[in-house]
């Protein structure tokens, strides 16, 4: 069991480094097409991390919808506009000041977040005056593992989605319809 956990951790860190490296390249490439492809790489690494975090169905959706459909839409628009390379695609110094400030905030956040454990989360929730029931925070952290073992990876997502979240799910279809109509209205030259 111990070696098993270590292998999972190593794989997690490999994909974490992959995701961060791809994201860095995505925001620094001057060519928008290269940026988009590096973002696909980031999303793929994130899908692998989702599998490690026991979200197999969401990982598949991530590859299909995000890395597939949404990024193809981006690539279509980039190629449709036929943008040339801009060598200095950067804003001026005020943006950079904010960027350095953000990096400082990130440094402090990382030190705190990296030491987070399920036990610490449970302790904080149980001492906070929050509306969250402390019993909802499982110190063992196996709520999802139990659900997946009994219902399967898709079934454990589908059952609450179509029971507890049925109304939001249906509202989503209205949102998508509005988005389709809005995109056509905005992008069409003459209505």
């Amino acid at each position: 069991m111990a070696s098993n956990v270590t292998v999972t951790t190593v794989i997690f860190y490999v994909f974490a480094v992959w995701a961060v490296g791809s994201a860095l390249l995505c925001i620094t490439r001057s060519n928008a097409l290269a940026s988009a492809l590096w973002l696909v790489s980031t999303m793929f690494a994130l899908a692998a991390i989702f599998v490690i975090l026991q979200a197999q169905f969401i990982a598949a959706i991530q590859v299909l919808v995000y890395a597939g459909a949404v990024m193809v839409l981006f690539l279509f628009v980039i190629m449709l506009l036929n943008l040339e390379d801009v060598p200095h695609d950067w804003k001026r110094w005020p943006a950079w000041v904010v960027g350095v400030g953000l990096a400082a905030v990130l440094g402090t956040t990382l030190v705190t977040l990296h030491s987070y454990t399920p036990a610490r989360l449970a302790r904080e929730v149980s001492t906070m005056p929050s509306p969250v029931d402390p019993r909802l925070v499982f110190p063992e952290g196996n709520a999802l593992a139990v659900a997946t073992a009994t219902q399967g990876a898709v079934g454990s997502v589908a059952q609450p989605l179509f029971q507890g979240y049925l109304i939001p799910f249906e509202v989503t279809s209205v949102l998508l319809l509005a988005a389709v109509v809005g995109a056509v209205v905005l992008a069409k030259k003459k209505l």
Binding site: L24, L161, G182
Partner: protein
């Protein structure tokens, strides 16, 4: 479990997305950085869904749907801007500047 490392990775990706939005001028790249931020938040949801049950994953499902709708409408807006100004450089879009 990997809760702490996942939250830390999510923070890194989110800040990279914010940095991209702040320093880039190409509207499409800025838009892709917004998608990166959405992905970072999805990672937080999924990391905590391990503890709290599957509701976090369902929230990610909805975030992805909204992101897809947002991408369609946003790219249509960028197309309209490009047709108007022949450029997607955000520093050239200053009609509202006083």
């Amino acid at each position: 479990m990997l809760l702490g490392p996942s939250l830390a990775l999510s923070a890194v990706l989110f800040v990279l997305g914010v940095a991209g939005v702040l320093i880039r001028r190409n509207a499409i790249v800025v838009f892709m950085c917004v998608e990166l931020m959405l992905n970072a938040v999805n990672l937080t949801f999924i990391a905590l869904a391990q503890l709290h049950g599957v509701s976090g994953q369902i929230m990610v499902f909805f975030v992805m749907t909204v992101a897809a709708a947002e991408a369609a409408v946003g790219l249509a807006i960028i197309l309209a801007i490009f047709r108007h100004t022949q450029s997607v450089d955000l520093t050239h879009i200053n009609l509202l500047r006083g």
